[in-house]
């Protein structure tokens, strides 16, 4: 009961902070799992699970109106179940994915409900009632938080035993497979990130970053700095000196803005 309350409150609170701070990334698994871990008395597991899930969920970001799998609920509940059941990151991963997919519908539901509010918002605007508009905006956010609280609370209260029994019955072969899958899944995330960015003309930059690490083992921060320098050279030194660069610019841009 207490655990269920804690998890429910953390989910609701993190979403509240995320949207009060203008999408500050506090609902990313690396943060969520750590906090759940700390609250349930196992920060280490939380950190490790968070690192694993962060990679897997890398590409699931909300861009535009499309609703991605819900990383907050997936990471939060996956971590909680893993810690309650004394199991590791593979179990959290196995649980977080289906949960995140199911929880996607929470957001869709909230977005629909809040669409109904918009008539009222227009009325407030027509009356220049700014206080009313601010309250409605916060109300819409609290509605979303409340949904997260209910889902988190109910899932832990009613689901823990069932989940534990289920996890204990997973055969070892499947668990090994999940570990392999855990190493592969970041590929999906990275591919999703690449989708709006990578074109035939700029695929070489991706290969460059990959090879710098694969062959030379340069740390990512170092590769980032090389990237910044290279970007400056290409954008400022070469631009305008050859006539073709403008057209490629535009192509790249269109790809980018299709997001």
């Amino acid at each position: 009961m207490q655990t269920a309350l804690i998890v429910g409150i953390i989910l609701a609170l993190l979403w509240f902070i995320e949207k009060m701070l203008g999408t500050a990334m506090v609902i990313r698994p690396i943060v969520v799992s750590t906090i759940i871990g700390a609250a349930l008395g196992d920060v280490q597991t939380g950190l490790l699970v968070g690192a694993t899930l962060e990679l897997v969920f890398m590409g699931f970001i909300q861009v535009g109106g499309a609703v991605p799998p819900d990383v907050l609920v997936g990471a939060g509940l996956g971590t909680a179940y893993a810690i309650i059941g004394n199991s590791g990151a593979e179990v959290a991963l196995a649980l977080a994915l289906p949960i995140a997919l199911l929880a996607q519908s929470i957001k869709v539901l909230v977005f629909i409900i809040r669409s109904w509010f918009m008539n009222y918002a227009m009325k407030l605007a027509k009356a220049a009632n700014i206080k009313g508009m601010i309250n409605l905006n916060i109300g819409g956010l609290l509605l979303h938080c409340a949904m997260y609280f209910i889902v988190g609370f109910a899932a832990i209260l009613f689901g823990s035993n069932a989940v534990e029994a289920f996890v204990n019955n997973i055969p070892d072969a499947i668990m090994n497979g999940l570990e392999v899958a855990g190493g592969l899944l970041p590929a999906v995330g990275f591919a999703l990130l690449l989708l709006p960015m990578m074109t035939k003309t700029n695929v070489l930059y991706f290969l460059l970053g990959f090879s710098l690490l694969a062959y030379m083992n340069i740390p990512i921060l170092g590769i980032t700095l090389f990237g910044v320098v290279l970007a400056f050279i290409i954008v400022y030194e070469f631009n305008g000196k050859n006539g073709d660069s403008d057209t490629t610019d535009k192509e790249d841009e269109e790809e980018l803005f299709d997001v």
């Binding site: 690396i30 027509k126 899944l185 590929a187 590769i223 290279l230 803005f257």
Partner: protein, 272 residues
Amino acid sequence: MSDKRKLTKDEKKLMREIFWSSFMLEGSYNYERQQALGFSIGMWPAIKRYYKNEKDRAEALERHMNIFNTTPHVVTTITGVATALEKEASENPSFDKKIINNVKIGLMGPFAGIGDSLFWGTLRIIAVGIGLSLAQQGSILGPILFLLLFNVPHMLVRYYGGVFGYKFGTKIMDQANNSGIMQKISKGATIVGLMVIGAMTASMVTLESSLVFTIGDEKIPMQDYLDQIFPLLLPLLYTIFMFYLLKKGMKPTTILLVTIAIGIIGSLIGII
């Protein structure tokens, strides 16, 4: 780019108000008007300054309730531009107020493009890359560093974006287009982003073959040979395969499930 005009005291106060009012942009995100309610609230510092009677204020609030959507982290730049336009509209009776929403619509697309690739695609990935390795070692600094690396630039862009937007006002699009700043930023961000994603793919996707060929008495583990030719070739190929499937229009959730299936089946039959 040559506008070096200093802001007055009241304008500085206005910039701070825009900054603080900008955070709740997505409080009531919805399908019908997306971020409109939050954006309209973010325009209040400007509206209450420039319009003194209720009717004008209502009209302005309603104007900004039009559907709106951009990357939350860069919204103040657009708020700043819209603020400059509202100022003009309140002082100049012949100003066509339709322009305000037209400019907003013109800006929100490009800014979503730049904002998404800068914040979601580049900055977040760098922050993850650095925070993650610490978290994997079990250090609490991991998530903390992740949040700091993301949010310090986030807050700076949020504040100075508003100042930038306001200063350039109506001219922003012309000037930015003329000097090609938008294209330069987006091209630069794409280069850095791609290199970082490439590096992270190499360090974080793991796929090794456990196949062993036996020729005569000699056992040849395939992975050893692959490593000599092209280390991490398999993760690279798999990532490009995923990219290809997405490009072909396969749904992300489908390929997630396919990947899990490949992991389980592959390890069951002993090839990976």
